[in-house]
Symmetry: C2
Subunit: 257 residues, 2 copies
């Protein structure tokens, strides 16, 4: 059974893309067949692994099912990890998906079904979402089996948690009954500041078991790695950032993935 | 002549809201009559100054001109600084503004004109934008005299700079000929890391005089201040964050605002 994990939070810059790249890479090196789909017009998950945005067809054209054969075959990066790259024209999804003939919220779901009928099944599929609760994120909610919410250990990100949790409830009632909260991941923890500790304890108080035990520290290696088109374990294996995402991978595998 | 400054960047978490709050507060204490309009459904600029989102009418209802008197009178915070708070229903602007009878891109422009006909003129109006290039950001581009682009000193934010610069060019040709680039502001500089220095030199090499001389350092006081509903100069006047935004305010006043 493939786990399709939407990684979403409308608050910007909380570590969605960094989590997708590094978690997916670690699962691939643990012999799990893994796919990343870059649903963000910024295409950070694509460029962070060294890929250019898609052309001929672009990911948006595939989602709109405009080309004859609307299947994008993924690129392979490190063994076991494949990527369907994004495209800047995804900005147009908000307006164009609802103008199509089919259910606009199921475009990603339909694409994944077409793909899965042609390739070996994946163990994990990660959907990297843009920082909004628009059409692309709602598509991810509809296609996913699970939702993962990265949250920076900061005040504005803490405030934003209530609205993504409300959107999850709406998604579970209206779009996808089976959508499960995979977990809330606290990112960019800076143990030297009270703010990080206060925000972490606030989140754990409210959301308890829904929060991963592993937290990700602020670590410059995590922000350097994408400029070398590498996941952090291949860029600097001994860094705190690499260790934390390794811990998180173990926690996920222990939970029975 | 009122300066209407859109603060925008589709890359999330680069310091848009932090810049709007702190720059606007400094200009207000320098005897400039200043207004903040919170166009982000997350309402961070509103809550960062201690305000709840608008209700009866919400900012979206005002932009849709649904209520009898579609004018929101701003709240005053510190002397000289007023805020038109956002509302979570702004998420609906993407779909609802184009369904109205009037030009959907001029909704913010019309609102500001209605407001300015009823109150004393402002010296500065700041439009805080959500992390996307959707309907609300395009409205800000249309209503503004100037665009300010905060950029984190990080790889993904550097990559995103090209696409916001392209959007500026499109806006100048199609929506608002007079839209001027006020400047690119480098934020969250961490002088201890090579990454920050490399990104800064890259940005200055490409964009030269368009980049403010002042850079904003990473400083925890900036992320603590909003939880106390205060601009950083009132929260911790002697912090590096407060000093940097003070420097920026002086640079702006020196440039002849
Ligand atoms: N734990 C960390 N320590 C240090 N830097 C980090 C960490 N996680 C992410 N970063 C950096 O912070 C920035 C924001 O992270 P990222 O782009 O992954 O967030 P995002 O939520 O995907 O952003 P967006 O909302 O724009 O999609 C990036 O420059 C990234 O390299
Ligand atoms: N110079 C700085 N030093 C330390 N923290 C900062 C700095 N500037 C902003 N922050 C913090 O970083 C986070 C992101 O900043 P902010 O919310 O202002 O960015 P934004 O671009 O408005 O985000 P969004 O894209 O979600 O609207 C916030 O938690 C903020 O408090
Ligand atoms: Mg991202
Ligand atoms: Mg903001």
């Amino acid at each position: 059974q493939t786990k399709i994990i939407a990684v979403a939070n409308q608050k910007g810059g909380v570590g969605k893309t960094t989590t997708v790249i590094n978690l997916a890479a670690n699962l691939a090196t643990s012999e799990k067949r893994t796919l990343i789909v870059d649903l963000d017009p910024q295409c950070n998950a694509s460029s962070g692994l060294g890929f250019e945005p898609t052309e001929e067809p672009t990911l948006l054209e595939v989602l709109l099912e405009e080309s004859d054969d609307p299947t994008l075959l993924p690129f392979e990066t490190i063994p076991g990890l494949e990527v369907i790259t994004g495209s800047p024209d995804l900005v147009g999804a908000e307006k164009l998906l609802p103008e199509g003939k089919k259910d606009p919220l199921k475009a990603v779901d339909r694409m994944l079904n077409r793909l899965q009928s042609r390739v070996d099944p994946y163990d994990f599929i990660f959907l990297d979402c843009p920082p909004s609760l628009g059409m692309l994120t709602l598509n991810a909610f509809t296609a996913a089996t699970d939702l993962m919410i990265p949250v920076q250990a900061e005040y504005f990100a803490l405030e934003g948690l209530t609205s993504i949790m409300e959107s999850l409830e709406v998604a579970q009632t209206r779009m996808n009954k089976g959508l499960n909260l995979y977990g809330i991941l606290i990112t960019m923890m800076d143990l030297r500041t009270n703010l990080s500790r206060q925000v972490e304890s606030e989140i754990r108080k409210h959301y308890g078991k829904k929060v991963f035990k592993t937290t990700i520290p602020r670590n410059v290696r995590l922000s350097e790695a994408p400029s070398h088109a590498l996941p952090v374990t291949l860029y600097d294996f001994w860094s705190n950032g690499a260790k934390a995402y390794m811990e998180l991978t173990k926690e996920i595998m222990r939970n029975g993935s």
